[in-house]
């Protein structure tokens, strides 16, 4: 087995399940299966991390956008909405157990925020990678 993948994906998932946070593991697993059916494969936290920090050109000429613009580079930290300045609760399930607990919420925010940040819908592969990355935090 790929050691890197084991450390980044399987081990955190296993540890989390062992720690009793299966409540939020379920919706993500469900989504990962759907993304797999849509052509995604080998979801990878490192790829999700890379996408997280990647800059995308703002079509209106503002500051280039990336996930970290609002959510910061540290998923355990409180973020800040780039336009309204409203505080955004941490995304990391380890500090905010509400995250990744509701399938429809996950889908809604992936849809909205991919469009705003990247300028298009994310591919199943991208969504899977990011979800796996968030879950590992």
């Amino acid at each position: 087995m790929n050691m890197r993948r084991f450390l980044l994906v399987r081990l955190p998932v296993a540890l989390c399940l062992a720690a009793g946070c299966g409540a939020w593991a379920a919706p993500v697993d469900e989504l990962l299966q759907e993304y797999q059916a849509q052509g995604g494969k080998d979801f990878n936290a490192a790829a999700g991390d890379k996408l997280w920090h990647q800059f995308f050109k703002d079509p209106k000429g503002g500051e280039d956008r990336r996930c970290a613009l609002c959510h910061t580079s540290d998923l355990r930290a409180t973020g800040k909405h780039a336009v309204t300045g409203k505080a955004i609760k941490p995304l990391a399930p380890s500090v905010n157990p509400e995250r990744l607990a509701d399938k429809s919420k996950i889908e809604k925010w992936l849809e909205r925020n991919c469009k705003w940040t990247i300028g298009r819908a994310c591919t199943p592969q991208e969504k899977g990678d990011v979800l796996v990355m968030i879950r590992s935090k």
């Binding site: 209106k60 503002g62 500051e63 909405h81 780039a82 336009v83 309204t84 300045g85 409203k86 429809s104 809604k108 849809e111 909205r112 469009k115 705003w116």
Partner: protein
């Protein structure tokens, strides 16, 4: 009552006016009334902004009591404090003013005929301001003795009058001050000092007895009312159950709208604005709301039922009646009413607070109530510069 100071050639043979000396003309309650009213009037100007509504209300009630006292004292007080000693006469006032241009030196023991007009005008304006203030408070904020008894429309009219007449009263105060200075120079007497000490140059027979007991009672009454007022909203308690129910809230609205910004209550924009909002939901200030059914329909229905047009609050009434019918603003800060109410805030304020963050100063913003009593102007460190989007 008028004593003529001899000037120039002596009068007819044998005429000798009674000698003038410093005697008590203004009794203590009249002086206390005068300075308390002056201070309260100045205080009302300083507290005219909505955020100082509580001291503004208190000073208003205090002025009401002072005027009431003065009306009683005008019939029961000492000689020069009685209305009978300074009748409201146009001809006398005009004669006095004509006399000024000729610099004929007349000396009045009590109020001069022009000053009388200023006093009656100020008393009438003060009484009107108290009344219009109580009507505004009762109609717009549903506070005070008239809470819940009047429509928002009546409150709006009373509020406009309250603001206009405040300027009229300031103008009369200005005329009064000019009169005091001119009178002091022409009569060669420090009239401001007289109102402080009560002493004026007059015949011994003009003197009045000091009435310190009444002054003390008046001061004690004002002090006790101040205590009662600031220790609890006792006057509001009179209104009790007449106050209208709070605005309808919706949990889904709060979580959907509140994810990215303060959830503005639908009563802050007209229904046509909300329709436009849903029409442009794919480009909601640069973001795609990605609303799903049935949530989208639920939000639209909630907004339509409780939009500004439903006139469910004073702010809703103001926004609905001042936003042009052809305009459908998408931001509350684009409505004429918002602009009017925030015109006095300086650029410094907007460096630390964004206009979208109502709740930075309005503690009750999320409920949509926007009571002036819930305003606390933010004293926050300047936030990092915002990015345009």
């Amino acid at each position: 009552m008028k004593a003529v100071i001899p000037s120039g050639p002596q009068g007819p043979e044998g005429f000798s006016p009674p000698p003038l000396q410093k005697v008590r003309v203004w009794d203590a309650p009249t002086r206390l009334f005068h300075w308390a009213l002056a201070a309260a009037f100045a205080g009302e100007w300083l507290t005219r902004d909505a955020r100082y509504i509580v001291p503004h209300e208190f000073l208003g009630y205090a002025i009401g009591l002072l005027v009431l006292f003065r009306l009683v004292w005008g019939f029961t007080g000492t000689r020069w404090a009685r209305f009978a000693s300074f009748p409201l006469s146009i001809s006398a006032a005009l004669a006095y003013l004509r006399g000024l241009t000729r610099r004929s030196q007349s000396h009045h023991t009590g109020h001069n005929p022009a000053g009388s007009w200023a006093i009656y005008a100020l008393l009438a304006l003060a009484a009107f301001q108290v009344a219009s203030g109580i009507v505004t408070l009762g109609a717009e904020q549903q506070l005070g003795p008239l809470a819940g008894r009047l429509s928002y429309s009546v409150g709006d009219t009373a509020h406009e009058l309250h603001e206009s007449l405040a300027w009229a009263m300031l103008a009369v105060v200005g005329l009064h001050l000019v009169g005091v200075v001119v009178g002091s120079l022409l009569e060669r007497e420090n009239l401001v000092g007289s109102m402080l000490t009560g002493l004026k140059r007059a015949t011994a027979a003009s003197a009045v007895q000091p009435r310190r007991g009444v002054a003390f009672a008046l001061a004690a009454m004002l002090g006790m009312i101040a205590l009662a007022f600031f220790r609890g909203d006792s006057l509001d308690a009179l209104a009790g159950a007449r106050v209208r129910a709070p605005l309808t809230q919706d949990a889904s609205w709060k979580s959907e709208c509140g994810s990215c910004h303060m959830p503005y209550h639908p009563s802050l924009l007209p229904a046509r604005s909300w329709s436009a909002m849903w029409e442009h939901s794919q480009d909601h200030f640069g973001e795609d709301l990605a609303l799903q059914e049935p949530t989208a329909a639920h939000l639209a229905a909630f907004a339509a039922a409780h939009a500004a047009d439903a006139l469910e609050s004073n702010v809703a009434w103001k926004i609905a009646t001042t936003t042009p019918a052809q305009a459908a603003p998408l931001r509350v800060s684009e409505t004429p009413y918002w602009k009017k109410r925030h015109a006095r805030l300086d650029a410094q304020t907007w460096k630390s607070v964004h206009p979208s963050e109502c709740n930075a100063c309005h503690r009750d913003a999320e409920s949509g109530a926007f009571s002036p009593r819930a305003i606390e102007v933010a004293a926050r460190p300047a936030a990092a510069p915002r990015k345009a989007s």
